[in-house]
């Protein structure tokens, strides 16, 4: 069930209403059923996968919590990690692995074929695998107590607002919220609705509006000149942010209506003044996951400089592969790893100057945005060679701009992006002007109505799926 589908528009109010009408002791059970219904509406059989992952990690957690012998704890942890990552590998990377092996065998003129077939990736597997794995590791590290109630734990894994594309919640944040009963709070409820509305604006008015242009130029890159490809890359930069950021806001708002608080995944990422800050603001739940479970165990920055830089590169390469089974994602991850390495080196060699701060900051923001924009080309292109051709064309072939579905559509996309950036800059500058989030009920009500009217009037209702669902 997509957040931007008619089914969800019916599902959410019904779940919300029944949740608040039910006695508190039945609410978690009801939410669990709703979450499984939400997930299984894609393909019922995938419900078994999530159930398997839930059972394995729940039992492992309890076993690890009971054992005192380190060796046994480690064995249980290894078993839990192996079973979860095997599933992820099988569904997500098996086809890619097989293709790559066959390519190498072919290059070496060996007439052997590695048997593989492409399998349909279960939606959200990367997200809930990381969430359950983090839980087991946290129990192993004694950072949290194992959850003994299976129903509560199963709800933690499958909670529908964040199930298919995150935020990847930590047990210490989300699990306790299922342990006590919530009372209805109209302020929280309305705030949730407002957050959802802004999420829908980002998804429907920006991500889906620029999608046809992005698809047209990237899928037929040979037919387009550098100017059109640059605009395509610019639009994709906003498409991916608004698609995923919009999804995250809808997830946050949905949870908030039920009085749950999820991690905010994005914090004005395109106003970051360097790549390090960008990664503190972009997909924060994943970044912190990689920080805690990959980067720090590798040694983090508490080692010599070459090892520190290598740790960064490795972490970003793995993060790239997490996004998808394709070399383009790996290159995208490595590229960001290199940006991070350079950023660390530059900070060591030339500590940031304090003078002329605002001008310098603005220049840094633009520079970081450009770096991120060019890296997205690798993320969006189907092959590395394609990305190179696109980059080459951007710098060598200028010409008339391809207008896609027409100039009005392009201008409308710019208008919506302008509105988004106005809000982002306003928040970054700490300006105390609020519209939908105003404390004045009249202002917030009128603003919310106008925002919904704007969405109805200017959205692209194509019913596109969210990009991050494929990861």
């Amino acid at each position: 069930m997509l957040f931007n589908s008619l089914a969800f528009l019916a599902f959410f109010p019904v779940v919300c209403l029944l949740y608040w009408l039910l006695p508190p002791k039945y609410r978690n059970g009801f939410l669990l059923l709703s979450s499984y219904y939400f997930y299984m509406s894609w393909k019922p059989v995938y419900g078994l996968l999530i159930l398997f992952s839930t059972l394995v990690t729940w039992l492992s957690g309890i076993y690890i919590g009971q054992q005192r012998e380190r060796r046994r704890k480690k064995a249980a942890l290894t078993l839990a990690l192996a079973s979860n990552f095997s599933l992820l590998f099988f569904f997500k990377y098996w086809g890619f692995f097989g293709e790559s092996v066959n390519y190498l065998l072919d290059r070496w003129n060996l007439r052997i074929q590695f048997p593989f077939s492409s399998i349909l990736l279960p939606i959200g597997i990367s997200f809930y695998t990381f969430q359950t794995v983090a839980y087991v590791i946290d129990v192993y590290r004694k950072e949290i107590e194992p959850e003994r109630n299976f129903l509560t734990y199963a709800l933690f894994v499958s909670f529908f607002p964040q199930l298919v594309a995150g935020p990847i919640e930590r047990a210490k944040n989300l699990l306790p919220q299922f342990r006590y009963s919530h009372s209805f709070d109209d302020g929280q409820f309305l705030e949730g609705i407002r957050t959802m509305a802004w999420g829908y604006f980002m998804k429907l008015c920006i991500a889906d509006r620029v999608a046809p242009y992005v698809d047209a130029v990237f899928d037929n890159y040979r037919m387009h000149n550098g100017t059109s490809l640059l605009l395509g890359a610019f639009f994709f930069t906003f498409q991916i942010f608004c698609d995923f950021g919009g999804y995250s806001l809808i997830a946050l708002g949905t949870a908030q209506c039920l009085r749950f608080r999820l991690t905010s995944n994005f914090e004005r990422p395109y106003l970051s003044s360097n790549v390090q800050i960008f990664w503190r603001r972009w997909h924060r739940s994943l970044s912190s996951w990689f920080m805690d479970y990959v980067y720090i165990p590798l040694g983090g920055n508490r080692c010599n400089l070459p090892r520190h830089l290598l740790n960064l590169l490795l972490t970003f390469a793995i993060s790239g592969l997490w996004h998808g089974a394709n070399w383009t994602f790996l290159v995208w991850g490595i590229l960001h790893g290199i940006f991070m390495m350079l950023s660390v080196l530059m900070h060591k060699l030339w500590p940031p100057a304090q003078s002329n701060a605002s001008l310098r900051r603005a220049a840094n923001i633009v520079f970081t945005f450009v770096l991120v924009l060019f890296s997205w080309i690798f993320f969006r292109a189907s092959h590395i060679a394609t990305a190179w051709i696109i980059l080459k064309k951007i710098f060598t072939e200028q010409g008339a701009l391809y207008k896609g579905q027409g100039l009005p559509e392009l201008l409308l996309a710019f208008l919506c992006i302008g509105l988004l950036m106005f809000k982002e800059i306003k928040e970054e500058a700490g300006m105390n002007i609020h519209f939908i989030h105003s404390k004045n009920t009249i202002v917030s009500t009128i603003s919310l109505s106008l925002l919904i009217a704007f969405i109805l009037l200017f959205a692209e209702f194509s019913g596109n799926a969210f990009i991050y669902f494929q990861f």
Partner: protein
Amino acid sequence: MQKTIQKHKAFRVLISVIALLALIDAGSSLLVNAYLRRHSLPGEYQKIEYLMKDAKEEMVIIGSSVAISSYIPQIIEDSLHISCFNGGCSSQYLPFFQCMIENLLRRYTPRYLVLVMRSEELAVDELGRLNLLSPFYRKGYPSIDHLLDKTYGKRNIFLYSNLYRYNTIGWRILLSSIRPSDEIGQKGFVPHNKPKFPPVLNDWSNYTSHYRQLNPIHEECFRKIVELCRQTGVELIVTIPPVYKKHTDHGRPFELLALEYLCRELTVPLFNDNQSPFFLSRPDLFYDDRHLNYGGAEIYTWMFVEEFRQWKEGQESRSTVIPGSMK
């Protein structure tokens, strides 16, 4: 008590939002209707409206953006001495064409209907930008109502909202008041500028179609169009303008063969210039791989006129499938 008031507050806010939305919705409808009393809808809506309300030409061309940029009605009028209108609409497919033709034929009977198709027209999955029809929903056009009800399914409840139905129209009206775009100024023909960097033929030497079956929805629409024209006595001509893609499969991919077969079966003349060697050797006549630029459109329209004449002269004795005359 306070909790009850708080609950009432959330309820009140939600009701206020709905009431305000209803007000904005009604207001937007009043505004658009007031505008429409003096002006026609902007952009492609203008063309749809013209086709449904005012068109009375002897030859009407129906198709997608390929049609818009390929046929210059003025040349057809001057050479064939019949009035002509190019009713092409961007990013549309057979369901839209069928709907337009049904509406057209309810009002008057043109002598010729030129259905401009792409080689893959019968096989594609998409249904096109049918939301372009939503301003005309429940405005007395049964075929539009039927098509939107069928494709939108339960989503058609949104069509009761004026804001949804007039999605992006306000914006287009605003832009057209600043920079007027006259879609029907050149009788529906909108030229594409010549690109600075024309496509390179080598890029397309290995183009292979991936279609292996026809889309039953599109096939049904095509059959329905043929039937409608037959019932009303309109002479239907199917054309496939040139593209800048060299097909493998000896230039006859599955979907093209299927279209030829269907035209033979239904005895509909097909002017197939899809793989015209002349155009394949002239990248300077294209805007991109499937759209001709102004120069290309001029040459192709003359080619069409010639093919049309040949077909008229030997209508009774000739084969129904007419290969491109200038190949």
